[in-house]
Subunit: 328 residues, 4 copies
Amino acid sequence: MISFCQFGAGRIGAIHAANIARHPAARLSTVVDVDRAAAARLAERHGAAIGEAAAALADPAVDAVLIASSTDTHAGLIEAAARAGKAVFCEKPIDLDRRRVEACLAVVARAGVPLMVGFNRRFDPNFAKLHGALRAGRVGKLELLAITSRDPAPPPLAYVKVSGGLFRDMMIHDLDMARWLLGEEPVELYAAASCLVDPAIGAAGDVDSAVVTLKTASGALAQISNSRRASYGYDQRVEVLGAAGMLTAGNQLESTLEISSAAGVVAEKPQPFFLERYAEAYRRELDHFIAAVAGKTLPEISGADGLKALVLADACVESAKTGRPVRL
Amino acid sequence: MISFCQFGAGRIGAIHAANIARHPAARLSTVVDVDRAAAARLAERHGAAIGEAAAALADPAVDAVLIASSTDTHAGLIEAAARAGKAVFCEKPIDLDRRRVEACLAVVARAGVPLMVGFNRRFDPNFAKLHGALRAGRVGKLELLAITSRDPAPPPLAYVKVSGGLFRDMMIHDLDMARWLLGEEPVELYAAASCLVDPAIGAAGDVDSAVVTLKTASGALAQISNSRRASYGYDQRVEVLGAAGMLTAGNQLESTLEISSAAGVVAEKPQPFFLERYAEAYRRELDHFIAAVAGKTLPEISGADGLKALVLADACVESAKTGRPVRL
Amino acid sequence: MISFCQFGAGRIGAIHAANIARHPAARLSTVVDVDRAAAARLAERHGAAIGEAAAALADPAVDAVLIASSTDTHAGLIEAAARAGKAVFCEKPIDLDRRRVEACLAVVARAGVPLMVGFNRRFDPNFAKLHGALRAGRVGKLELLAITSRDPAPPPLAYVKVSGGLFRDMMIHDLDMARWLLGEEPVELYAAASCLVDPAIGAAGDVDSAVVTLKTASGALAQISNSRRASYGYDQRVEVLGAAGMLTAGNQLESTLEISSAAGVVAEKPQPFFLERYAEAYRRELDHFIAAVAGKTLPEISGADGLKALVLADACVESAKTGRPVRL
Amino acid sequence: MISFCQFGAGRIGAIHAANIARHPAARLSTVVDVDRAAAARLAERHGAAIGEAAAALADPAVDAVLIASSTDTHAGLIEAAARAGKAVFCEKPIDLDRRRVEACLAVVARAGVPLMVGFNRRFDPNFAKLHGALRAGRVGKLELLAITSRDPAPPPLAYVKVSGGLFRDMMIHDLDMARWLLGEEPVELYAAASCLVDPAIGAAGDVDSAVVTLKTASGALAQISNSRRASYGYDQRVEVLGAAGMLTAGNQLESTLEISSAAGVVAEKPQPFFLERYAEAYRRELDHFIAAVAGKTLPEISGADGLKALVLADACVESAKTGRPVRL
């Protein structure tokens, strides 16, 4: 039985806590949150206790730490947990500053504990099947990759301001996805971005629409398309052109209902947002981490993966700002 | 060069005339219609002459006769053309009366001319591919067949009254399709029908909604679903369950455009009616007949096929009226 | 907190037990099964005790009984639970004999306890949305209904022999679905059936392929298509033609992956069987029952619904045997 | 009756000649080709004469010239035809050299004749419907555009060498499509390209896989994806994200047949190549040009459009070579 201490009792924390609680080989022992009422509610729902960071990390009964608190706390908590010898699962990103991430990963390396970063989309059943088919050679070598990733609506402006911007907050998922599917590192990157959805986002120094081109050493080309607004729901699609065919993984619709009438054939919208679309991915991601903590596998997504995605996001920021490609 | 005399210059006649005219091995020599102005317009468009039935059939330069005039003229024209030694293509049905059809076919048999009945759907590229896949054993032996066939809107009431009724006018196409796909004759049939679309149709002694079950000697089961009204367009689908899989051939949509918005994912409607959906089928059907006249093949759809479909339609009428299955 | 005693620790019992256990307003207190080891395993997984029927039903701490044991035990357990004043959820069917069902329902009526029958498909999100759209008038009055329901492969022959046959075991779900969607009772029914999949099924006195036609007093027509074999997975679809359009609810595929190659565009198969396809339906069904026990709603599916579906299944058996329609 | 002289009797010439011949308001009077046998065959098929360029252009009975000969003859023929006062339809490109195009257009402008360039895809029914829906405001202002355009297989190497390269030969269609859909001119462009399909293409100085990013003054972003190889057929898709929704126009499949089996649900491939996919577009394009010659409309696609697409293609070549974006 792997005993978890979880930091963060917000929306994503609630998902992780429930997934820990339902896992036959895990239990949620402690919930820590600066909002003690939220921590108490979540802890009660799953028969856990509320706690303080230091005490929880010092508790030898705690095997693993799940970090779902605000981004600015991630690196510090990872380090503290690593030093305490705990296995660590941390929501992305480790930090918005690359040097801070590097320092944090050095601490983890010295501690020798497993660290997994929550790029949940790798565990989406659709993308995982696509990845498996690609690796199994179903369409030959990857030549062109296209990732479409659009949120239903922009986050609150207050969040935008501390998010690190579209590239580090939102596209970082797609950059990880690109690395995972390409199977080799991008060597060059070009980003173009605009503020089309809400001028307030531009006033805050961010963009809300962006496209990125990646190129690898072997010449494979990847395109990413991001928008903070898709009125039809959460749009999450991947397309791979290989030498022998094409793989696509599309959106999951809300149901299979279709209404045919004089207005056309109306299918349902894609699922509204990540809580719905990636519910199964969150479950599988945690199952994987628990198996890793139990020593049955290595974490699929390492701290180095977290760092590399951030490096790409930083390069996107630079490219979009300068208008020039960035060599990596 | 096969020279055609065509009877009938209406809507379906215009399609056949254009298909004759565009065929490299055929020419339209004469158009005959009781509406001489219509005949003249169609003849002029394709560089043909207008003519009279007797003279046209006596003309040794005429090789083939295409009959697209009103149903009550079909059998007489087939007989006259057969006696004149012409190859005959006739729009369905040969006649609404089974005995009249039998007498007509006897004349054709004595004359020894090729006769093809216009069950155009066998030449629809989608259904033809399905039929080919079925015969090629792609899904093993047929076990269950489902045919969905719905018109966008009822015909004019005046037409309903002379049409022979839904079973002989509309479902006869599906009964032919069923025979063609089943690959064996039905031995029992049950029909249930209602007047749901327009009470005036019921007042005229007809139905507008009907479902039929067919059973063959080998135990294969077929279901047909007909309605005179589908607000979303002309609905023409076939589904075959075989021992090793399922074949489906669906509607052709007006275009591939899809609009995703808060209202859902809206695809286009099926093509509106038979002129659009079966445009290619009409072309291929005529190509086939011309090849048959040229001696390159036997007509795919014989007079006996026309008769057998009518016998099934008659049985449907009887079953729907008595509420009892009919042994065939 | 509603406390459940569950009878049956097999495959479907495991699903219900997990759904009870995860429900915030319910707990699994006791598991009863003739296979005590199975009961013990399931009880342990969810922190429940194993028990005996009589003691469990006598326990005032038990509020509700969930019956997922073998069919021949259903009616007796329902009666015992009802007499003990417990709310009852019972897997379909109540019994295979209509008179036994009627006697059982009389006992339930006298006891005045809530009884719900597990026609789980009404809670499938796809069919529930279709039903909602139909009742909301999105396509006007229902005219034609088509239900396609095919198992991936036949059950073991031993099960076939005690199952009551295809109509009472398998099509009963579709008959309930038809009643639910039609919104009025069928007044006539015709069934045609064959043994095409496995002669051993025929030798056991059953059929494996069947189609049924239902007609209501208003003239609405329904078609059902059943097979014990669909090599492409569990095939569960509904189509409604209404005066103003068509509703369809199709299969849920295993993922959204598509592979385009020289072989065509290959989508995934439908989910393999009921455990996968109806996982969410089982959850929602239990949520509904728990809400009903808590007095928040009436059970969606009553004992009378269970009886009426059985009456239709019996009529199908009779029609398929005699070859004649049955008036209801 | 508009009388055409056509230059070029090859594959695309055959399509145009047939479309002229079938048009009720047009006739094919003369066919000119350096391959006189090919000219003779095409002329005979449509009842036209074969001719010489000078005589044909001097013939006052010729109203319009259709140029479907090899690219290096386009500009000269356009000029000669314009000077002779003929309306001109020319297959893309006008020339591979921008200055030559400018000089040619100056001649056309002085002559005051209508000139239309054959960017046939604007007349594809699917893309035309998408364009119409976009202009009608169905999804609000365009924010992100994605064009996917992949040939089934590379052209012969001999053609690659004289084609002007992937950007000027193949992507020029997509660049025109982008201008047409964006509704404003790109102000910046970035191209990345690789040789992944066939090293011989690289040895010939060309690329076979390319992605391009375009940005407009309003900040709209467009992505284009090109490959010379798609083993599943001709891949031609467009996607528009607007402020209020998304428009997509996908591939037309070879038929609607689907085969469901243990291997999955297999749909047909997209139509194999441009002759099939754009058959209707070629017809509509010529109908439009004939209407323009008849003075009923202005040509949808002017010489300036041909020039602007070439300027973009040139910029792609430069960007792919230098690795830097190009300001336009």
